[in-house]
């Protein structure tokens, strides 16, 4: 079980992601934009950040670079979960320090598999 911060401006997407992750036994905190995510992340430690790219106030890429500036988030996996698939956007994400890029529509299994890939197994 991991604690995951899910960031998406769409309520239905937040619900879907939360539901998928909770069913797999993860603890999910969901917020609706980068600004909220950043303030949550500053107060609380999480194992993985899963964020949308296009959001009002602060987008996912800005969020990623902001998070990477926080000492406790230097190595935290940050996954982008987005409809955006343009390669220049992916490049910008990578430069900002994103760990991975998942293109919506996602399927639950694939999302969980990718999460497993970035999570530390217990007792390792």
């Amino acid at each position: 079980m991991a604690s995951i911060l899910a960031v998406d401006d769409s309520p239905s997407m937040r619900q879907l992601v939360s539901m998928t992750l909770r069913k797999a036994g993860h603890e999910v905190h969901s917020v609706e934009d980068g600004t909220d995510a950043l303030s949550f992340a500053k107060e609380n430690g999480v194992d993985v950040v899963l964020t949308d790219v296009h959001m009002p106030n602060m987008d996912g890429i800005t969020l990623t670079s902001e998070l990477r500036r926080l000492p406790s988030y230097r190595f935290t996996p940050i996954l982008m979960l987005t409809t955006e698939s343009a390669s220049d956007m992916k490049m910008r994400g990578k430069e900002a320090g994103a760990t991975g890029w998942i293109v919506k529509p996602f399927d639950a299994e694939a999302l969980l598999r990718i999460l497993d890939r970035v999570l530390e197994p217990k007792g390792e």
Binding site: D9, S10, M13, R74, F75, T83, R117, V118
Partner: protein, 682 residues
């Protein structure tokens, strides 16, 4: 605390947010003009389209996501300044917004969208995109699924030398190796990279590279996928090793079926979606907090009062008890108000929809109209707001069609070329007022009167006040439009508008000056659940009138009531004769005390009420206080009763009945209609 919902509920959220997204797109587009390209507006529209596309694809509404893709592409070009916001582009985007809305509704209701229209808009989008096909994005990369699922045993040699900074993106070679290990059998040899210098090593960088041998039912693409995200920061080489011949059997049928099921999955999702509209409402956190706060206060007050139940501590402290009750009363009232607040929504969302209507209609009519809005933050009960939507549309259409003149006519009349349509909302007394005003031609009273006489609504030679003439347009079957246009003027308009407003307990007034313009003023109650009531006594019963319906109360002596054949009793109120009834008789109550000696002298109380522009009088025994009452439906709790709009429970626990004034006036009217032919024949 579990916040998990089932799929149907998440779908409902998706539809709700998409409807909002469509509104955001529409109002954003309406703010765009070829001259002013505000990048933030375009960004907003883009984001709305983008998240709708993502949601639609995720929830399996592939037609919507496919369609939105083209729209998104256009918007993306606009925000990166590769495309100008020309009139044509905005037009196509607005048409697309309609299509998306239609498709969303169809998906929600599980009905059919207007395919022909969508296709034609789709063609316009494609044409805009310069014949670049607005390709519908494949939901799942079929190729990848197929290949990674084929079951041939293979062997690969992989060399992986990550970039030194790999840790800084949250990636870990260890995890990649673990992923590879899960695909088959692996053996790994790790070596230090060439430039590793122990003296200058940075503990946060990576200096290791790996040579991996992987055996299993693995395709090259699957391995590439593992390295996909790190590949351009790293050196990754994958070579095939020789494989034992008996294993190279590709089970074609199996791989085909796998890809099929993958693609079909979203369709199943779509059919599961529930079409129900549960009528949800979005409430700001502030309102909820207020409510919770008040409930907290109530609990405190309750505990404050509870001690009076305890004889030992405060049984004799009547002052304390009284104070406590006062606090309780205040909190209860505040609680009721803030509970009502929850149903209140700002009218702004309703208003902004008119931007589109005004734009479309003025283009169609060749008129120039500027829409001005004010009081968008005025809050209305959700039900009232919903029911006002159609009447408002009608009034706005009327103003545009009949009120505001063609540019040439306006110039000729010495007015600016562009007409102004003003929608406003504000509080007045205990009511909400919505005004629709224009600076157009105003009502032509001569024409109205002629038409009314022609239609038999007014008898020839009858003298009417200006106000009465103006209000003729609310009569059923009245329309002054010389020709029935496509947009309004079918003659079923204004009376229906007034009916709808009356049903909400409101009223509508018209002011108009020829050549200057017209103003329609709609007065609505704050809420449907609560009524400002005038309590009256009839016999030993208490009845309630809506304060809004009462015009005046007069003291009437018996001699002032005259009997008219066929109409019943009438009373002369200034120049009008109004029908009067006795509530005692109407409700079959004992009437023995009627006109006793003393009452004969001082007269009887007549409450004059008005509905639908018609007045009538109701005799009551006594006027009691005025208070707000909560309406309880008789229909739900008992049976519908003619002449009664509902009931309420008074402070002393007694039930009081609420008089249905519009119903009574209407039935009075009917009675007159039925009897008029007889009396004229007599």
């Amino acid at each position: 605390m579990s916040l998990d919902l089932d799929m149907a509920e998440i779908h409902a959220i998706f539809f709700e947010e998409s409807a909002e997204g469509v509104d955001v797109m529409e109002s954003g587009l309406l703010n765009l003009t070829p001259e002013t390209t505000d990048i933030e507006t375009i960004n907003n529209i883009f984001r709305a389209a983008h998240s709708m596309k993502g949601g639609a694809a995720t929830f399996g509404f592939l037609d919507i996501s496919g369609f939105t893709h083209g729209v998104e592409t256009i918007l993306d070009q606009m925000r990166s300044s590769q495309r100008d916001a020309t009139e044509e582009v905005i037009e196509v985007l607005l048409a697309s917004v309609d299509c998306i809305r239609d498709m969303l509704n169809a998906a929600q209701q599980q009905s059919e969208a207007d395919k022909a229209n969508i296709d034609s808009v789709q063609r316009r989008i494609d044409a805009l995109l310069n014949n670049e096909t607005a390709a519908v994005k494949a939901p799942v990369d079929v190729k990848k699924v197929t290949q990674s699922s084929s079951g041939a045993l293979k062997a690969w040699k992989i060399h992986y030398a990550p970039d030194g900074n790999i840790f800084k993106t949250g990636n870990e070679p260890k995890r990649l190796l673990r992923e590879l290990a899960s695909m088959g059998e692996i053996s790994v040899i790790s070596t230090l990279s060439k430039d590793a210098d122990f003296e200058s090593m940075d503990p946060e960088s990576c200096y290791t590279c790996w040579d991996i041998e992987l055996r299993g039912e693995v395709e090259k693409d699957a391995i590439l996928e593992v390295f996909e995200w790190v590949s351009n920061q790293s050196e990754v080489r994958i070579e095939a090793l020789e494989v034992m011949a008996e294993h190279i059997v590709v089970p074609i049928s199996e791989s085909a079926s796998v890809s099929e099921t993958k693609v079909a999955a979203p369709k199943q999702l779509a059919t599961q979606s529930a079409p129900k509209d549960s009528g949800s409402i979005r409430v700001s956190i502030d309102k909820i907090d207020m409510l919770l706060n008040l409930v907290g206060e109530l609990v405190i007050t309750q505990s404050m009062l509870a001690r009076f139940g305890d004889r030992d501590t405060g049984g004799n402290d009547t002052q304390g008890l009284r104070d406590g009750l006062l606090v309780l009363e205040r909190h209860t009232r505040e609680l009721q108000e803030s509970a009502m607040q929850i149903r209140m929504l700002p009218i702004g969302a309703s208003f902004s929809r008119f931007k589109r209507l005004v734009r479309d209609m003025s283009t169609k009519l060749g008129k120039k109209v500027e829409l001005q809005l004010s009081g968008e933050n005025t809050e209305l009960d959700k039900t009232v707001l919903e029911k006002m939507s159609d009447p408002l549309v009608h009034l706005v259409r009327n103003s545009l069609d009949h009120g505001i003149e063609m540019p040439a006519d306006r110039i000729a009349a010495g007015k600016p070329e562009t007409g102004i349509l003003h929608l406003s909302a504000y509080h007045e007394g205990g009511n909400i007022v919505i005004k629709v005003s224009d600076d157009g031609a105003g009502l032509n009273q001569k024409k109205i009167l002629e038409k009314a006489i022609e239609r038999g609504i007014v008898a020839p030679g009858e003298v009417l006040s200006d106000d009465q003439i103006n209000n003729l347009i609310f009569q059923p079957g009245f329309s002054t439009a010389d020709k029935v246009s496509d947009l309004s003027g079918r003659g079923v308009g204004m009376d229906v508008v007034r009916r709808n407003i009356m049903d909400l307990g409101g009223r509508v007034d018209l002011q108009s000056t020829l050549g200057k313009g017209s103003t329609l003023k709609i007065r609505l109650p704050l809420t449907l659940a609560i009524l400002d009531g005038q309590l009256v006594r009839v016999g030993d019963q208490v009845y309630i009138f809506s304060l809004l319906s009462i015009v005046e109360t007069v003291l009437v002596s018996k001699g002032q009531i005259s009997k008219v054949v066929g109409t019943g009793n009438v009373y002369r109120l200034r120049e009008d004769y109004i029908p009067v009834i006795r509530l005692r008789e109407a409700f079959d109550m004992a009437s023995e005390s009627l006109f006793s000696e003393s009452e004969e002298k001082k007269g009887e109380l007549l409450v004059v009420v008005e509905s639908d522009g018609k007045k009538m009088g109701l005799f009551v025994d006594e006027l009691l206080e005025q208070q707000q009452v909560v309406i309880k439906s008789l229909e739900e709790n008992y049976l519908p009763v003619k002449g009664l709009a509902g009931a309420t429970i008074l402070g002393d626990g007694n039930v009081a009945l609420i008089i249905d004034v519009p119903g009574l006036v209407h039935s009075m009217d009917m009675r007159q209609l039925e009897k008029t032919p007889q009396s004229s024949a007599a």
